[in-house]
């Protein structure tokens, strides 16, 4: 089963350090292969380096594509990470 969904990132940090890690953690619970696409570039949801390299800021659109038996659940979990706008702000000092 392949699921594709386009979402707008509302996480206050965009898709950097901690959200990238949260996506990797969330994805590890599923069998589905998940790829995130933004600005014409792909990143595996298992790779914090590739996710960070996308340079996704809050307000950017991201396409989530998951392939596997639990694709739908994986997309839901990742959407939850990227649209978590109550993220705590202890890392606001990040430049």
């Amino acid at each position: 089963m392949t699921i594709e969904r386009v979402i707008t990132v509302t996480h206050a940090e965009g898709l950097h350090a901690r959200p990238a890690r949260e996506i990797v953690d969330a994805t590890s619970d599923y069998d589905a292969d998940v790829v995130l696409r933004s600005n014409g570039r792909d990143a595996r949801a298992t790779s914090p380096l590739e996710l960070t390299a996308l340079g996704v800021e809050p307000g950017t659109e991201v396409e989530i594509r998951a392939d596997g038996p639990d694709a739908s659940a994986a997309v839901t979990a990742i959407t939850a990470v990227l649209t978590d706008d109550d993220a705590d702000t202890t890392v606001a000092s990040e430049s």
Binding site: R18, A20, R21, V24, R44, S47, E50, G55, E57, T90
Partner: protein, 580 residues
């Protein structure tokens, strides 16, 4: 006398010259420069091991610092370190490092260059991503420092037949243990449930962990013996002054015993003494030691070896290798027995073992806790895709291998489980165009004992699992069965009921529990009608000796009388009423 005790991992023993991996004074660390190194010939396997070792060290450092940071500067510091940790285990980094190493780069240069690539990508992206490039520089420094302080020898440098000694065996090293090269391992620290222990057990290399700093008294080059069953390490260079360790020599002697003949009771009934194994390699070793086939192949060991459920092809090869170790003889392969004290490994790794799993073993365990209490066949039936894949591999191996396969179902608690599993097996066999293998059921729960006759009616084979049965009868955790006294009326009655059920239904009965290696219990099992005993390869010879020419009738009466006893002390008295 130098003989120290630790905790044994796996079974068996081995001896050879000691080979220390750590703190070797003759090794000069390589300079950690990036680039500039002469184009020397490198061995990719060795460089990859060096990378993994460096990364292990960097990860350990990061974990320690994270704990400190959490206490000292709060969540932000901890967060940064957690990010570094996630970059270190990133598949996108591993792939680039491996590609560089494959192309001939030494580990430090491969790491420097792979991280530089990512620094360039981050800086090109700009913004907050570019700010992360400094984290990568930091990480690169940390890894290169780990290389430059690495005076550890490679496990691949161990001479053939060596006993490897180390403070702590890294998982990446354990994944490279080859039982044909390494006779045994002893560690100052470590635990029997750690990742390295699981891998050593799967490789069939005897290991003793947690031996303490005393281990340093064994110097490189000394002749050392490891006994995993007893958790002992013994310096044989001092033999002649040490009369306290005869066990090691007994073991060496049994290796060559001519045990390739079937043993029979005094009345001429054949008793098979087969092996309990976890890999094709171990099966081959068991064949050398005169085992009569495989009584128990623990397939879950494969999953531990591969850090996840291996694909059909990998499973097929492993099962076929085990069957090929015993042409024309029976090979009993048990389907995955996860649950209880054996969590299912959850991380999938490459089948070639090229990327050892760096995740912490505890992660799998906690996930398992959430999966609940399903065990053995119940769990397999709840995971039909995974179970069918295993049955498919078993059908193919049965067709290709030279031994006769029995598919053994673990932790059976009811007749439907056997019927359902057989239905699936027959469907898969039909799809594969092969004859369905025979099906056996483990009798290792009180439920199975009470229904032994019913279960025997739908199976071709029964196997007593004494460890779980004893724990189940007495309501104990399997983790701590050492102090359980098997001489209880409940256990003996369970044995009698199961043996009678197998006899009435005309189904062969084996016993594959730990108790079978105790000569007195081996004789009792045979007296009750058990046809085959499963023991670790090293116990085959002495178990054959224990049951050869056994006079069954007297002993059978005595064991049956003991089963009728009311108290444990009465059991003891009745069991010891003769020459047992």
């Amino acid at each position: 006398m130098t003989r120290i005790a630790g905790t044994g991992v796996g079974t068996g023993s081995g001896d050879g010259p000691a080979f220390w991996l750590d703190h070797h004074p003759n090794i000069t660390p390589e300079p950690a420069g990036r680039g500039g190194e002469a184009a020397e010939a490198t061995d990719p396997a060795r460089e990859l091991e060096r990378f993994e070792r460096g990364r292990d060290a960097a990860l350990a450092e990061l974990e320690a610092e994270q704990a400190q940071a959490a206490a000292a500067i709060g969540a932000t510091g901890e967060d940064v370190l957690a990010t570094h940790e996630s970059f270190l285990t990133d598949p996108a980094l591993e792939e680039r490092v491996e590609a560089e190493i494959d192309a001939g780069a030494p580990a430090p240069r491969a790491v420097a260059s792979a991280i530089q690539d990512w620094i360039d990508v981050f800086e090109e992206q700009g913004g907050r991503t570019a700010a992360r490039a400094d984290d990568l520089r930091d990480l690169r420094g940390r890894l290169l420092r780990a290389f430059s302080s690495d005076t550890r020898r490679s496990i691949q440098d161990a001479p053939r037949g060596a006993v490897v000694l180390t403070t702590r065996l890294h998982p990446s090293e354990a994944a490279r243990l080859d039982p044909d090269v390494v006779a045994g391992v002893a560690c100052v620290q470590g635990s029997t449930s750690g990742h390295a222990a699981i891998l050593a057990r799967a490789a069939g290399v005897p290991m003793v962990v947690d031996a303490g700093p005393e281990l340093h008294r064994f110097q490189s080059g000394h002749q050392v013996a490891i006994d995993a069953d007893r958790g002992l390490i013994h310096d044989q260079s001092e033999d002649g002054r040490d009369d306290d360790a005869p066990a090691m020599h007994d073991v060496a002697a049994t290796k060559d015993a001519s045990t390739n003949t079937t043993v029979r009771t005094a009345a001429g009934r054949a008793v098979r003494v087969g092996a309990n194994v976890g890999s094709g390699t171990e099966a081959a070793r068991a064949a050398e030691r005169g085992a009569d086939g495989i009584v128990l192949f623990r397939s879950e060991v494969l999953a531990y070896q591969h850090g996840g459920i291996p694909d059909v092809e990998t499973q097929t090869t492993a099962y076929r290798d085990a069957l090929d170790a015993f042409p024309g003889e029976q090979g009993v392969i048990r389907t995955f027995d996860f649950g209880g004290d054996k969590p299912r490994p959850t991380t999938q790794v490459a089948d070639d073992g090229g990327t050892p799993d760096q995740s912490r073993p505890g992660e799998g365990a906690s996930e398992q806790d959430r999966e609940g209490e399903r065990r053995g066949i119940e769990r397999s039936l709840a995971e039909p895709a995974e179970f069918d894949a295993q049955l498919r591999a078993l059908c193919r191996a049965s067709h290709q291998g030279s031994g006769t396969l029995v598919v053994l179902l673990p932790h059976v608690t009811g007749v439907e489980q056997v019927v359902d599993a057989r239905d699936r097996l027959e469907t898969v066999a039909m799809e594969e165009g092969v004859a369905p293998p025979n099906v056996g059921a483990m009798v290792e729960t009180p439920a199975a004992v009470l229904q032994a006759a019913d279960i025997a009616g739908v199976a071709e084979y029964l196997s007593l699992g004494t460890n779980d049965l004893l724990a189940g009868l007495l309501g104990r955790s399997r983790d701590a069965p050492d102090d359980i006294d098997p001489g209880t009326p409940a256990f003996l009655r369970s044995l009698v009921m199961t043996a009678d059920a197998a006899l009435d239904e005309g189904v062969p009965l084996s016993c594959c529990g730990e108790l079978a290696r105790d000569p007195a219990w081996a004789r009792r099992f045979v007296a009750l009608g058990v046809d085959a005993l499963g023991v670790s390869p090293r116990d085959v010879a002495h178990t054959k000796d224990a049951v050869a020419d056994l006079a069954v009738p007297d002993l059978r009466e005595r064991v049956r009388a003991a089963a009728d006893a009311r108290t444990n002390s009465e059991v003891r008295r009745r069991l010891s009423g003769g020459t047992t």
